[in-house]
Symmetry: C2
Subunit: 351 residues, 2 copies
């Protein structure tokens, strides 16, 4: 991972140093956030977009909806534990879930490269449908474009989701409070390592499978049990470290993470060491953090543990006041250090 | 992806002729419809998708919504009369309009190619925002992915739209009735010719500009005036001929088009003759047909003519009963012939 210590989110000249788009502009780290800020948010500026949550919260005729979009360009199309089709459903469902919404409808937009085997497309589409059925959503509308050979890469999929919000909680980074506990629903790093392993032909003693999974049901279980959820964030591009930094900045608080409490499987840790990755920055596709008052922790963990997708849940940290928003990591040897947002690009086309 | 030959069991002969995707699978004609039927609809089959309208009609907690998605891969990014940014707003707005919906929110998903000039992206984004403001919609949520050089083509944009339906009309191909008049809001063929001209470096006496424009306001004027609209369809890929065929097939009726009544500008007609195109098949991005009872025609045309986007409106045909659904064209010399759906590919990457 290339270090660019001179760049910071607040530096307006940063993007101008890049006359052209680089892979890191899609990597989930500081460059992507600069592009978001300086190109997209500055042009599209409006109250809904400015919420800057995983999903936008809409109110249409008194009905509260979550609305979110993601394009999927993962390479390769099939990887241990998933494929682009199921990923395109899970990823968007999970963004809806981060507002506690019940996922209802997805759109599906395909950009196909000339020469793509029709059998490959059929398999992707069937996988999407299986994932959608599992999540209780309908693929309501779609679109197909074809580009010339060499102008695309097999298949890119956009899914955009609508979820219905049936609870009265306000869930978002600005609801995070000092003293909140931070829970995670399981071990981190498997999605990124699964992708890089198959891409580079690496073999480990065990096959590391992606954690790609839909977490909307799990989140609804928490809400229905009356857990006071302040914020939710899924840990995709940029991993746990980048998600925590986004929330710390929006909440203007300090997030303290206890490294020894963050679940990482031994095989994933080994793979990360071999590859020079820090699991805290590796992408997940079925993992999220939840911010709740300390009094709800034990009950929330019980609920999470009762679901296979939350079997490895634990508390990984807490929130504190600090004049400077930041994320600190208490390491295995007890020392605390600042945990920055991902800088540069770690794994292109992870999702 | 691994081969799953059992998936092709139900696949009729037409698609199996193509083991691989060809450009015409995105062209709006027969091959695209086969792919839609045999790959997408057969896998995703559900009551909402099976409406097969430009937008899906959703009911969430009693609120009626239109929901539609389109990916934009137009080449080049800028063309006379528009660019990929404004097109990505107009195109999706227009699909919402085809249910008579008030466009409310758009998502914007970008797939950027490494090396894209940031200035180009900024110009596209600003153009999107201007178009969105003009249409009264907010870009509520977004996503950015970056792919390696040679795996994309500058910028692809997906926009997915949510519109609110505030009328009680049922608008769709199955509402079309024998005796209905068919109205069009203006001259056809300019978008396709504008694209092909700039792509091939052709020069005509006048610059032919795309008709790219948002027609949602125009449609709402018709509805608010009490025009009984049975069906609406915008005339994008595959042009008027393919749109008419889709509706004839869904309505199980004959659509009769009077060629002399279809407005085509002389410069567009000349360009089409030079290029070997039939304007009836050329894509538009600000043109639609409306099916209404004959008694509403004069009033509807008055309303259309009062708006610049409908200044060239006219009645171009009517609907008749026929055991075989089809589209017939009464030509300039008075003879009638069958007007088929676009076969093969005319202009790749027109939108």
């Amino acid at each position: 991972m290339e270090q660019r210590p001179e760049m910071s989110v607040s530096c307006p000249v940063a993007l101008r140093r890049y006359a052209n788009i680089v892979l890191a502009h899609g990597g989930g780290g500081t460059l992507m956030h600069e592009l978001l800020q300086e190109t997209f948010l500055s042009a599209f500026h409006n109250p809904v977009l400015d919420q800057r949550h995983d999903s936008a919260l809409l109110d249409i005729a008194g009905v509260k909806l979550a609305f979110t979009t993601d394009s999927y360009v993962v390479h390769p199309l099939v990887f241990p534990g998933g494929d682009i089709g199921s990923l395109a459903v899970h990823g968007t469902i999970n963004d809806l879930a981060m507002l506690g919404a019940r996922p209802r409808y997805l759109s599906a937009g395909f950009i196909l490269e000339e020469g793509l085997p029709v059998d490959t497309l059929n398999a992707v589409v069937v996988s999407m449908q299986h994932a959608a059925e599992r999540c209780g959503v309908q693929i309501a509308t779609g679109d197909t474009k074809v580009v010339e050979r060499g102008k695309g890469d097999g298949v890119f999929i956009n899914t955009t989701g609508i979820g219905q919000i049936e609870h009265s909680l306000e869930i978002g980074p600005r609801q995070v409070k000092a003293g909140d506990a931070i829970l995670i629903n399981g071990d981190i790093g498997r999605h990124g390592i699964a992708i890089i392993a198959v891409r580079q032909g690496l073999e480990f003693e065990t096959t590391i499978e992606s954690d790609s999974a839909p977490v909307a049901g799990l989140v609804r279980s928490l809400i229905e049990a009356g857990i006071e959820i302040h914020c939710l964030r899924d840990l995709t591009r940029g991993g746990l470290a980048s998600a925590a930094n986004e929330i710390a900045e929006a909440a203007r608080l300090e997030i303290r993470i206890d490294e020894t409490a963050v679940p990482v499987r031994e095989d994933v840790r080994g793979a990360c060491e071999m590859l020079g990755f820090d699991p805290l920055y590796v992408a997940n596709e079925g993992r999220f953090i939840a911010f709740t008052p300390a009094r709800d922790v034990s009950r929330a963990l019980d609920i999470l543990h009762s679901d296979p997708l939350g079997a490895g849940a634990s508390q990984i940290g807490e929130v504190a006041t600090n004049e400077t928003p930041l994320v600190t990591l208490k390491s295995r040897i007890g020392a605390a250090r600042i945990l920055d947002m991902l800088s540069g690009e770690q794994l292109p086309r992870i999702c």
